[in-house]
Amino acid sequence: MRRTTGRLMRGLAVLSVLTLGATACGGSDDDSGQKAVSADDVQAALEKGGSVTVWAWEPTLKTVAADFQKKYPKVKINLVGERSGDKHYTALSNAISAEKGVPDVSQVEYFALGQYSLTEGLSDLAPFGADKLKDKYTPGPWNAVSEGDKVYGLPMDSGPMALYYNKKIFDKHKIAVPTTWDEYVEAARKLHKADPKVYIANDAGDAGFTTSMLWQAGSRPYKVDGTKVKVDFSDAGAKKYTDTWQKLIDEKLLAPINGWTDDWYKGLGDGTIATLASGAWMPANFVTGVPNASGDWRAAPMPAWTKGDKASAENGGSSLTVPALGKNKELAYAFVEYANSGAGVQSRVKEGAFPATTADLKTDTFLNTEFEYFGGQKANEIFAESAANVSDDWSYLPFQQYANSIFNDTVGKAYVGNTKLIDGLKSWQDASVKYGKEQGFTVE
């Protein structure tokens, strides 16, 4: 009897250790999603201190990080910002799949969020209280970061589009700033004729730009419903865009310069590139990247597809996210909230960022801000109006990041060869569909 009890006890002990181990493992996988974190926990983490690694290229975060460290002296923010675009996502995906070197906070553009939330690469921030911030943000960006009652990031900025133009060049050649895309093509011809070195814009094939232009033109190529995906570039909006843009390509009115390259900054600075249709986050980049052209540039509303139409679109815009495998999640969230919802927003707005927080968009100080770079223009009025005219029924693919990486393989052909833009889009569609099927999506 005694011996049996002893054995039984020992057996139980082993069993309980095993179960403990099992629950511990099971728990660590998804505790971010389950456990609600109180404000006190975050506060405690801030007092205890630690370091937070942030992968983000947004220039205004430098000041935010410095201020944050001043406020919480025990916290060290390591801002890693030299990567952007493709390289950034490649590094992030690699870190996540290697389960090593994952940053505590990562900037993720709205178009790429789907891919990471779908594969559970990002923490749900709702347990930290992020779900209560919903009303602070404009609807578009909030739609992009949330899915049901889960919140995968806090919107950092938004990119309602505007047409930046080099006033000096337009004045010099006495050409009016275009208000419709037809006028835009006309202006492109006149500018290039007046000075063959001047191009209306640079475009050597850019996925983000093209999708935004389609968005403005009323095209809705992507339909996403959970794991059901539809890709179709044959609607009327897409045709409107390709018809117009094909003219610019055929007549060689676009400078074949890729964005974010040295050539691009030079071209924006020396008058080679006369306009730039881009998001409202651009001014900060003008200030840091093209300092020599200060005073030359102005902002204007996006040209319309039909005269008087005000439809706008978003271009870019990012959120700050907390990767699921990051370590200091409380601290990470504290920083994200500070930067995108708290005091950080003000300092970023001061440096030219375009916030996604409704309150900041409506203040008089914001609307009346005179942009020194734009010769004292109150550009925020234009951006705010654009933001109000963005329709929020657009969606990106849950694998948009991959689709964008092969954009130049397919649509890019239209910029250098005999392929038509619309056919380029068709082969982009086919390649995206093929990848979607391979990845187990139901693709129509």
């Binding site: 779908l118 130049n408 890019g412 052909k413 990845q439 187990g440």
Partner: protein
């Protein structure tokens, strides 16, 4: 090669009874053990792991599952893969002969003993090989620029319009130019060192027989360095099939011309890092490895047979 007689010692050894009876000696393992360990770790393990990876499929929806040889079957029918292989084969057929011919020509010139400043030229021509490929490509990429690069400057200075070296039609040739610049010196050095070991007596004999320089080259020098030629060819074949650095670094300057499936290596890289298709990428890489091995082996067999 002449037929070899087995060394007499071999016969003698088999006749001798084993020194320690039946006990196996483990001493040998002490010598090859470290090698076997490192070889397994850094050579066999990654290959085995790649093969293992290539038998699975990991999807965004549905996760990982075992698919057997499906990835290989898909790769063999993959137009993008074959197109990239075609591209590097064209590169191989054009660039490698040019590079080896130039390397050989320079080596023969340096070896002829009729040039002044041989040492200087030898170092100067070899120098590009010492420049890291990444730096070399960046430098050339800058020169190729039609807007703010050297080509652009030439266009402005002389009022001409040179063809854009980074356009779809020319970019492969431009890459070939970079690779040639990088590796001519390296191949030259292989040939040159092979030429240096030719015994002087052969040249003296040729002179007595009244052979001219051309005859000396065709009858003495080239046959003597055949081994070096074969080695250089094999290195160049492998190098061509593995082309990656140059297209990868030039791509930001020519996104539309250099596609993500430009070379087989670049294709596997894109599959893996942009598309997260590690498994399929492993299968493509293994197939590419096998093709490279077969071609290199065939070249070696042919080269050596002629040399016999």
């Amino acid at each position: 090669m002449t037929t070899l007689q087995p060394p007499p010692a071999a016969k003698a050894r088999t006749a001798r009874p084993p020194a320690r009876g039946d006990r196996r000696s483990w001493r040998g393992w002490g010598f090859i053990g470290p090698f076997v360990a490192v070889f397994t770790l850094v050579f066999l393990a990654p290959i085995v792991y790649s093969i293992y990876l290539s038998l699975f499929r990991d999807q965004l929806i549905g996760g990982t599952q075992f698919v057997g040889l499906d990835n290989y079957q898909q790769a063999l029918q993959d137009d993008q893969f074959w197109a990239s292989l075609g591209r590097v084969s064209l590169f191989l057929a054009v660039q490698v002969p040019i590079m080896l011919f130039l390397g050989l020509l320079i080596a023969l010139a340096l070896d002829s003993g009729r040039l002044y400043g041989t040492d200087f030229f030898r170092i100067a021509i070899f120098l590009p090989y010492a420049v890291p490929a990444v730096v070399a490509t960046l430098m050339w990429g800058f020169m190729y620029g039609t807007k703010y690069g050297l080509v652009g400057d030439i266009n402005d200075a002389f009022g001409v319009t040179l063809p854009d070296p980074l356009s779809s039609d020319l970019v492969l040739a431009s890459i070939g130019n970079i690779v040639t610049w990088e590796f001519v010196g390296y191949n030259m050095l292989i040939f040159y060192s092979a030429l240096k070991v030719i015994p002087n007596s052969l040249y003296e004999a040729a002179e007595i027989d009244g052979a001219g320089q051309v005859r000396v080259i065709t009858a003495i020098k080239l046959p003597a360095i055949r081994g070096a030629l074969v080695i250089a060819t094999i290195f160049s074949i492998i190098g061509s099939f593995q082309l990656f650095n140059e297209p990868n670094i030039l791509r930001p300057l020519a996104r539309n011309a250099i596609t993500t499936d430009y070379t087989p290596n670049f294709y596997t890289y894109s599959l893996s890092f942009n598309g997260q298709q590690h498994n399929y990428s492993a299968a493509v890489a293994i197939i590419m490895g096998l093709i490279t091995m077969v071609i290199a082996y065939v070249v070696q067999l042919r080269g050596m047979r002629k040399g016999a």
